[in-house]
Symmetry: D2
Subunit: 299 residues, 4 copies
């Protein structure tokens, strides 16, 4: 009975790169984690032990670093697109048919910039979210899905949860004023495909704006469920950012339970909470423009 080699890909993952622009005394830095995955004519590599079509993962790593020097890193997305196109269009004999480049970007702020000037070369890592992108190029078109993860947010009021479906395993009490906290993972897909001379969006500006709308929608929404908040966050982004066609959010409900202080003769007036680890509710959903075929996969 024959077996078939199905989807397969390979490349160097988690290439940690820091790129410094030293055009002036005021340095600029990009701090990325770049992962390359190549698809193509790799049957022999798997089946016969011949590596004639196998560009070493080490070479894909070298390419990342060399490109950082040759082209600089304008943004995570543009850098990933440059790499993906290279692997498909310039690998020998056309053995690479499709390349996926994923990037994590870590943010840095200047030390002292706020009040007293700064050295121009001293930075402190901004520990908030990690920015992400995934660029796929198949020789014809690009597909770009950007996002963020580990952005932790909390509303201390304006959140309720009641009127829910009750079955025989339901013991939850209705809540009319609860903490709503979550650790946002978001991914959004762009209309950009890069054919026919289509220009790339202003990626960094786009990112900052999407992030801002996510935060503001979270803050502004009076919430009757985390699902409702999720939907409000997604639609806010689509309403304000024309370059985005689809957005998917994964929102763990980071439960903050009111501590029962009655045994100690105290009344807990929504002041003292226990922040739980696990289990947690997990709310996931996609919002997209009408007529667009969603492309962001379920995790």
């Amino acid at each position: 009975m024959a077996h078939v080699l199905g989807q397969n890909q390979y490349g160097k993952a988690e290439n940690r790169i820091v790129r410094v622009r030293r055009d002036s005394a005021r340095h600029e830095i990009k701090d990325l984690n770049v992962s390359v995955a190549l698809q193509g004519e790799f049957e022999d590599v798997h089946l016969t032990g011949s590596n004639a079509n196998c560009l070493p993962t080490d070479s894909t790593k070298n390419t990342v670093y060399a490109f950082a020097k040759q082209y600089g890193i304008e943004s995570a997305e543009s850098f990933a697109a440059l790499l993906a196109r290279h692997f498909v269009e310039h690998t020998e004999r056309g053995v690479v048919h499709c390349a996926r480049v994923r990037v994590e970007e870590y943010g840095w702020e200047r030390i002292g910039a706020a009040d007293s000037g700064d050295t121009g070369h001293s930075f402190v890592r901004s520990g908030q979210e990690v920015r992400t992108t995934e660029v796929v190029y198949d020789g014809d078109r690009f597909r770009v899905i950007s996002g963020l993860k580990d952005l932790v947010v909390m509303n201390t009021t304006d959140s309720e949860f009641w009127g829910f479906l009750k079955d025989r395993y339901t013991t939850l009490q209705e809540a009319y004023d609860r903490i709503l906290a979550t650790q946002v993972t978001a991914r959004w897909a762009f209309g950009f495909h890069g054919r026919d001379g289509q220009q790339q969006p202003a990626w960094d500006r786009s990112y900052q704006e999407v992030r801002r709308h996510l935060l503001e929608a979270f803050a502004d929404t009076y919430s009757y469920s985390l699902q409702q908040t999720l939907h409000a966050m997604g639609t806010r982004v689509l309403n304000h950012r024309a370059e985005v066609d689809e957005i998917r959010l994964e929102l763990p409900n980071k439960h903050h339970f009111l501590v029962d202080l009655a045994p100690f003769g105290l009344k807990n007036e929504n002041e003292v909470y226990y922040a739980a680890d696990r289990m947690y509710g997990l709310i996931e959903g996609t919002v997209h423009r009408e007529g667009v075929v969603p492309v962001i996969p379920v995790s």
Copy 2:
């Protein structure tokens, strides 16, 4: 311009449960991490703030614990199937159309069992791989994908890598005797669908055998690339386990670099290696039976 609510799901994630069977002085335990995700008629929850169709994630959690008492935990797969079917078939007004239950299982061994007898109630956690499963039920059929992660293996010889494609960014030297080490993540899909009275496989036995074949294929394969080893591992499982239709492996190449000792007047005869963290090669691939439509998604 209208926006559409796309794929969405919710439930309680990471319900940590330990189930003890105390039928005799020789206790049996199952240690699971269970995550529930429900799909169905949840538009109103997102759009209007009405929770009338929203079974609380807390109730899904309660169901996990109650079922563990009522039905016991025969295996991760059978328990997940029981839960998935329940949510679809017994949630009020049929608002749940599809349920996905994921489980991680942690292994335990008896203390002292090897030499001198044991207490029957004392266990030490086996720290090797974590066993995984994902069961989806849509009201008509089941889809079961089981697997494992964090199984770390190493061959200290019988691995080469040479004859590869060289481009202008290639500096890698050919290797004729190298360490091959990886941290196996594997997922395999079963032919089981549960319709027409189809019986469930013997899940625990199946797991042990798949695991054994993965290890043995890794050990026995003289390797010219990690891709080749991947393929050998996948086909070995398909050859021996009729209940498995498809298997996907994700194999990070945990690089062990020979340390250059020449500056110290020493010759490193494949004896001293530096075990690197990042970057690492990442090799992924599916092997499936002919005629089967692959269902295991790319990560």
Copy 3:
């Protein structure tokens, strides 16, 4: 041959607590992780199985939450001091002789505060450093050691390393312009002991200032070694903060290696770096005022 029960302590660790002040529509939050450890007359608990002197760890947890309601959380240090004093002075029959309370504090910023006003109840977690404190009370005096961890900083220039000792295992090249990056762990001890009516320092203000001086010293120091930078950071704090008697820094040298691009015909002019994980240099040291007996232990 007799065995002796030596140092022992116990308590509830990692009590995760969020305290909301809702005095106005503009809420204030404190987000802490509180760990309690009690020393005292616990021989019987260990030796005879009698728990008559054993206040349950669960009770120490309850006390943390009750105190948060009763007294609020002015600062991590003052809250820890309140708890430590309570356990020593108010546990029945005086069985607790010494209490240690450790706190981690997680920072939050208001969403939208910078530009357009904010809701007053919406926050985003500041992911930078974690603030720490350890307060010990033995019935007579307090000892307070505060600190921070996970503060990641980088200078892209003004760092050299040369003229070092060379032995037969030395292959390192001298560096005249290198990246200097580290993840700061700092602990500093206060002169505060709390006897004779001695007032507590303004803990939150003190923390912000110490943190600022650490950052500024890192940024301003032209460095010939990470040791030199460490010393500059420590002395800067002692010079500016009279309430601090001693400071200890643990500075992993987060190596950023210049990538050799010569094989690709490129010259790397301090622009492209590989950020390594392990191994890493680790530089640790204490600076203290003359005449002070150092109390911060080596990790």
Copy 4:
């Protein structure tokens, strides 16, 4: 006001090394993580920027790898002792006065060894505990503290907790049959000092035996508190292993809470537990021989 440079040390941390012995087709491996810390005449390095006394951390790393080739790795302890002695006795001009070498060791098992023979070169990582050691040499004597961490154990019965001290914050119910589970961190100090020709213990054998006694004492002890179990574990080791003078255990109480199933009409007869993450009880204590001065520090 003068400031004083206090305790300081530096070196290369987390050198990951795999050493293969290939004397026959049946290879042997040691998988270590080695961290070096040197103390000595380093004032100038901190104060003046002169690195004349500073052996680069890179050189300490090179020494680790070179020694692995030159001397092999008989055991974690003997290898650490070799390194520590070298840094103190052979660094130029005697600038190193004291060296501390810490090692983590990761265990591996042969694949297939149990049933059907094995390849002799194929291994699977044993994921249980990590073995640890710390060797300090000051030019006169050695101090060796070995240990383990991440060893997770569970008793499903034979554990009670009642008769405890009750204060106004006590709400805990007495328990007459509970799960007792913990993640063992243990460190034990040896009588070995290495002076006057004193021979080293058989380190690997010693480790296996200490580990066995810890597990068996945990299993065999009918427990009225985790403190009591801790004491039983410590004394068992001292009773059986003459080379050990002192042992310290850190035992987090990994709470397994009985789930209340009464709302669902079910009775939980010690069968269904929720495994909690945080908060957790933390029990720590030292047991040592009479007349011995304890040296293992509190964490």
